[in-house]
């Protein structure tokens, strides 16, 4: 635990939302990732029912909520920062969230999403929208499709991160352990976690 940075927004012990009889305002965010971390979150299975009475899911691709709300306790952020939309969203998430969790390897290291970095975004668009596309296709319009950033970066290279949860994806057991720790107002134990 000594390796984790302090989480100033994380209320400890008796100040935890659960201890105050309040539900944890949880958000899950999907940046440049494959949604595998969200699938792993759903792999909590019946433990989701145990969490449900203690949590308000206030923002999530699983819940189809359009705008990121104010006063979020914990945000699980999946994916690397890869587009102009991701950049805009992650600043909003950071400003409105007390505990930001980098959720999975893409958020933590850039991972598969960042594999385009050695060749750059232009080569990626050329390959996806021209070389392998049917006749007449071309690079996408930046108005409709978010502009790719020059480099894909992990979340903590853009905004401060409070908790790292590596893994591709992190297992449901690990996700549950972190969520229960956060519900209890404890800094989550991250020993034994590894990339991949």
């Amino acid at each position: 635990m000594a390796d984790l940075p302090s989480s100033p927004g994380l209320p400890a012990g008796s100040d935890a939302p659960a201890a105050r009889g309040e539900r944890l305002r949880l958000a899950t965010v999907w940046l440049g990732g494959c949604s595998g971390c969200h699938m792993s979150f759903l792999d909590l299975d019946e433990r989701l029912l145990a969490l449900a009475p203690r949590i308000d899911l206030v923002y999530s691709p699983l819940a189809d909520i359009k705008t990121f709300p104010a006063r979020v306790d914990v945000a699980l952020v999946e994916g690397a920062v890869a587009t102009s939309d991701h950049l805009e969203l992650i600043y909003t998430v950071r400003a409105r969230t007390r505990v930001l969790v980098a959720f999975g390897d893409c958020a933590v290291t850039g991972n598969v999403t960042a594999m385009r970095n050695p060749i750059g975004p232009a080569a990626v668009l050329q390959r996806a929208y021209v070389e392998t596309a049917s006749a007449g296709a071309g690079p996408p319009d930046d108005v409709l499709v978010p502009k790719l950033l020059a480099r894909v970066v992990p979340v903590h290279h853009v905004v401060p991160v409070d908790v790292w949860l590596p893994g591709c994806p992190p297992s449901a057991d690990v996700i549950y352990a972190v969520l229960t720790d956060l519900l209890a107002g404890r800094p989550p134990a991250t020993g034994g976690l590894r990339f991949g």
């Binding site: 390796d3 984790l4 980098a102 390897d105 933590v108 290291t109 850039g110 991972n111 598969v112 960042a114 594999m115 970095n117 050695p118 060749i119 480099r151 970066v153 992990p154 903590h156 290279h157 991160v161 790292w164 590596p166 591709c168 991250t190 020993g191 034994g192 976690l193 590894r194 990339f195 991949g196």
Partner: protein, 238 residues
Amino acid sequence: MTVRTLVIDGEPVGAREGETILEAAREHGIVIPTLCFLEGLSAVGACRLCLVEVAGAPRPLAACVTRVAEGMEVATDTPRLRAYRRMILELLFAEGNHVCAVCVANGHCDLQALAAAQGMTSVRFPYRAPARAVDASHDRFVLDHNRCILCTRCVRVCDEVEGAHTWDVAGRGAGSRVIADLDQPWGTSDTCTSCGKCVQVCPTGALFEKGRGGGEMTKRREFLAYITTARQAHRWIR
């Protein structure tokens, strides 16, 4: 045999003259993390994971290449050393293109395992994302420069155990890379015997067998002890 007495982590330890701090520590069950070091190969002190603090020395020293001395006081696990080890690992991850999730060695990688053991959950440095090549010209093996950490285990095993000296290191600093013969495709090497020793000692997924998928490249390190025992002691035991 001259015996030297030293202190490692507060414990009095006896060691043979000429032994390294790493050897003395291991004989007494004291674990010092290593990466470029491999039992059976010469020690080069390339990775600096085995840094220890020696009383009176102005800077940390690599345990694998520092000889024991009478009365030496060694600390192997201090906050400063832990911080340096973390930093070294983070720099290794930032320097190459190490994407564990899609690596043949995922789950069987010394670098990945060390990062987990040292509590490395993120990299604070900007990733360099260098454009590096993959050499698949060999019939049976592949060299992926993206995963190479320049530990030179392959260079040493090929020279010292196989006796072929196919591998070398070319270039300088971050531009360094492992080359076959006169910097030619591995498959065209005249000296390579296709023995595969380099593949088995490689700590990461930089050298692997063709046809291996994600997480399938396990490394068999035990062959090295078998060969060295057979050669030196004329005992053919596994």
